[in-house]
Symmetry: C2
Subunit: 334 residues, 2 copies
DNA sequence: ATTAATTATCGAAACGTTTCGATAGATCGA
DNA sequence: TCGATCTATCGAAACGTTTCGATAATTAAT
């Protein structure tokens, strides 16, 4: 059969418990016996059976990763990449990721099985998840990390992208290029990250001693899609307020914005410069290629896992948030 | 502490083993005791600890899902959706999916940990994976299912899409529309699925008693991207051979094809009709919207899991392949 | 009515680890 | 030199199930 810890013990001429102590890097082991055990492990090509470790130690080495199926299967692989970063990081901490998708609205039958079967040590929740689920999960008392979403109430730990700083970088870049009349098109302002981006816009202007002109801020569109960007831009141009640059709250809106400008024969970046936010895959396909703020998705995933593992190792929960750094990518649209 | 099988046994007034028999739906249990046990389970809100089951039964209820990180994080969520379908199906068979990504070339250090730690009962390999890994995995004797890829040698079980049938449907559709001179642009013909699509093209013509005209078949392009489609189409038009329809071996090539035709002021579908293959997300954005062959990715993933679970349950391996059905989606380009 | 066959239930071992308390040996202090 | 303290190692219980062989109860066969 398979080689077990007993075989290792026999080969190294020590007890099973000693082998266990070596495997788990516990102190109080002579260097000499440690080496003997390690060598036996090597020679027998022994790997501890994860499942047995789990039963004995009451930690199963799994992390649950929950997101809505909508988020997971979107064309833009945003959460996929976050997951990828998480998986990679988890692997290096010797944890497994158990991914499960859920519906957008909470149903009792939708409760991830790994929770019921006590099969995870902690949970990562990515993107917006139904509050019903959040409440349910908190009942297990498991360490939990939110990613790219902050629950409406309660204590939590979240990994977010630095929206304010990103917006400041975007607008700062435009200011550096000499722009003074910079518009913001925002769409659905109820969304926390859009709010932050507007806040960053405001701060950047302030720091450069530029006035915040309400005529240049369009947040009337109901969503944050391509269409909203198109409409917001049309409205902005209609306004007649002079401007030389536009900061769109995300790339999708930037695309719509660009489309509108093209229709009105306004040249980008010559007449109006344009910056987006997110650096989606299509940003590089835009005509002209879009200057935008890049978020390293893999990093976000990795940070989430790292934080969770720390909670698991130290056995205490952390509250607050971590802001993942963002980066300005300058392309042709500015 | 947590409620265990013992608590259930006590509450139901039976032995632990009886509870286990009920849980695992073994025969030889009176309906009456079965009900008593079930009720106790319900009242105590008991769920077996997965990890304990695993240790005792020597099956851990996990399925390894391996794909290259490249495949996973592509913009087109092809494998993501396959995974999604797999995850869903696995959930319903009470299995967990352990996803791991690997590099494109095989390295010893890259061996998924769930293999070393004997943490999976079977493996799904999606997309092209390095042969070194395939050989390594076969050493474990685990039931294995390939998805959208057939290894170059050895026995295997694979879930593939029905390329031949899809091509036949595509070309058949064109023929039905009255087209007689139908071109095929294929790109990298060394790729098995492109070969099959060419074969389907050939069969469709044959069945309609149309001649196979080599002048109308372009397979000189080195890849199967947008660019290749563009170049192949230009070459085709240059040829001068009259034609009224083009079947592109995939959607990406169809996009390039469309771009070329647009440049040459050839109207789609009036002058030349165009069909693609894959139904990628962008197909609906093409101008005109692309008629194409749709593959249900979630189905493929589900079929893979279903087959694997069957192997696990019956404890014997299956060889051969399953072809997942494909479907013609008629849009504006024909 | 007795034995044989069948069925429902049970007890205990097994799965492969971790962990806790025990032990023997070494070191120390006075 | 003797007890006290410390250190390296060990033995055995524990984790929560499944499963196998045993047993008691029931049914069937003669």
């Amino acid at each position: 059969m398979n080689v077990t810890i007993k075989d290792v013990a026999k080969k190294a001429g020590v007890s099973v418990s000693t082998v266990s102590l070596v495997i788990n890097k516990k102190p109080a082991i002579t260097e000499e016996t440690r080496q003997r055990v390690l060598q036996a492990i090597e020679e027998l090509n022994y790997y501890p059976r994860r499942i047995a470790q789990g039963l004995a130690s009451k930690r199963n080495g799994n992390i649950g990763f929950i997101l809505t199926d909508y988020h997971f299967s979107r064309a833009e692989p945003f959460y996929t990449k976050i997951f990828l970063g998480s998986e990679f990081e988890a692997r290096h901490h010797n944890y497994y990721l158990l991914l499960t998708t859920i519906q957008n609205k909470f149903a009792q039958s939708d409760i991830p099985r790994f929770l019921l079967e006590k099969n995870v040590d902690g949970v990562i929740l990515a993107g917006k998840v139904p509050t019903g689920l959040i409440e349910h999960i908190s009942g297990y008392g498991l360490p939990t990390v939110f990613v790219d979403y902050t629950p409406p109430k309660g204590k939590y730990f979240a990994v977010l992208m630095d929206n304010i700083d990103g917006a400041k970088q975007a607008v700062g870049h435009l200011i550096e290029k000499g722009h003074r009349k910079i518009a913001f098109i925002g769409g659905d302002i109820s969304h926390p990250s859009i709010q932050s981006r507007l806040e960053g816009y405001r701060q950047a202007l302030m720091e450069a001693n530029l006035v915040f002109n309400e005529q240049l801020v369009i947040t009337s569109s109901p969503n944050t899609t391509d269409i909203d960007g198109y409409q917001s831009t049309c409205a902005l141009i209609q306004n007649g307020e002079p401007l030389t640059a536009i900061f769109a709250a995300n790339d999708a809106m930037a695309f719509g914005c660009n489309r509108c400008l093209k229709e009105k024969n306004i040249r980008v970046p010559d007449q109006i410069a344009l910056v987006g936010f997110d650096d989606v895959e299509l940003a590089i396909e835009m005509e002209p290629r879009l200057t935008t703020i890049k978020v390293n998705k893999e990093d976000i995933g990795a940070i989430a896992v790292k934080s969770l593992v720390e909670m698991l190792d130290t056995n205490r929960k952390i509250n607050g948030k971590i802001l993942a750094p963002v980066e300005l990518i300058v392309r042709e649209s500015t």
